[in-house]
């Protein structure tokens, strides 16, 4: 009998602090998930080529490729990937952009509530 593969969660954020907060809280809430981190959109795409994540937390404002573009590219590789935009840019226009692209939006700061909302969306 095959052991089910544990979900792979990719955290994309140029802020080490944000990556640390997200991973620690997710580990606490979903200890069986595997977690990988990327500091840029390019790095995220490289990691996705090695193994496509099931769930992605994506910052928007990063050096190089924007999080919106990286999220779009990940979806082109695999439409099933569930991505949450986790950003300090809480402008209505950004929420609408996220909606249009079919991405879920959670506002920073990162708290247990934001992470719970993220996980609820991933597991919906």
């Amino acid at each position: 009998m095959n052991t089910p593969v544990k979900p792979l969660f990719l955290v994309v954020d140029d802020s080490k602090t944000s990556r640390l907060l997200i991973t620690r809280m997710v580990i606490e809430m979903r200890p069986d998930w595997r977690i990988v981190e990327a500091a840029s959109g390019d790095e995220a795409l490289k990691l996705a080529q090695a193994e496509m994540p099931d769930f992605v937390s994506m910052d928007i404002n990063m050096p190089g490729m924007s999080g919106l573009e990286a999220a779009g590219r990940l979806r082109m590789i695999d439409q099933k990937v569930r991505t949450v935009l986790c950003t300090a840019n809480v402008q209505e226009s950004m929420r609408h952009n996220a909606e249009k692209l079919g991405l879920h939006f959670v506002a920073k700061p990162i708290t247990p509530n934001t992470i719970a909302e993220m996980i609820e969306y991933f597991e919906r």
Binding site: D14, S15, T17, L20, L21, N61, A88, V90, Q91, P109
Partner: protein
């Protein structure tokens, strides 16, 4: 200096008040405590007047996070507060995830993220109320003292105007006095005032 009418100044104060409120809500989530804040004081200054305005503050060593925003008007937004509060804020952000002796390793990076959240909360309110969109640069963080604050050395136009918003914050056990500073060119200030006029017109006020 561009003429700012009393109504424009009042509307801007109220809009910034909403932005600061949103920023305080974010700050409260970061430090996991209630944040009390004073009504913001909004001042339009020439760059040479900024040091004098900051002279009233009770600290010399400053922590500064800055970020450029572009949209219908462009501005360099800066969050300025006492340097001694930086590690306290980083400690609140990271909680028990990082031992106290390692906090300083995270200071640079965590303060950038802190400023990013606070400045974006404020700018996002402006964007939503004006029904416009701003793009933000990546944040940068540095230490400065009141005499060498780089406000006067940065260039955002021929004759920059500085919009200083002073807010007193109190987080249950610690008092923080912070300043939000928006530097903009005279052209951008005119565009900001146009945005305020459009906002007032949409509200049926003028």
């Amino acid at each position: 200096m561009v003429e700012v009418s009393e109504l424009q100044r009042d509307a801007l104060s109220e809009i910034i008040n909403i932005g600061v409120g949103r920023a305080a809500a974010s700050l409260s989530q970061i430090v996991r405590d209630e944040v009390e804040l004073s009504a913001p004081t909004v001042l339009f200054l020439e760059p040479s007047e900024v040091n004098q305005a900051l002279n009233g503050v009770e600290f010399d060593e400053l922590s500064v996070v800055s970020q450029d925003f572009s949209g219908p008007f462009d501005s360099r937004a800066m969050l300025v507060f006492p340097e001694k509060n930086a590690l306290v804020i980083v400690g609140h952000m990271l909680g028990e995830m990082v031992p106290p002796e390692q906090l300083s390793e995270f200071e640079q990076e965590a303060m950038c993220e802190f400023g990013n959240i606070i400045l974006n909360a404020c700018i996002s309110s402006l964007a939503d109320l004006f029904a416009v969109e701003f793009e933000g640069s990546l944040p940068s963080y540095r230490h400065a003292d009141r005499q060498t604050l780089e406000i006067l050395e940065t260039s955002v136009g021929d004759r920059p105007v500085v919009l200083v918003v002073q807010v007193d914050l109190k987080i249950r056990k610690q008092e923080l006095q912070g300043h939000l500073i928006f530097m903009m060119s005279v052209t951008s200030l005119s565009e900001l005032l146009d945005s305020i006029d459009h906002y007032l017109a949409r509200q049926g006020i003028v």
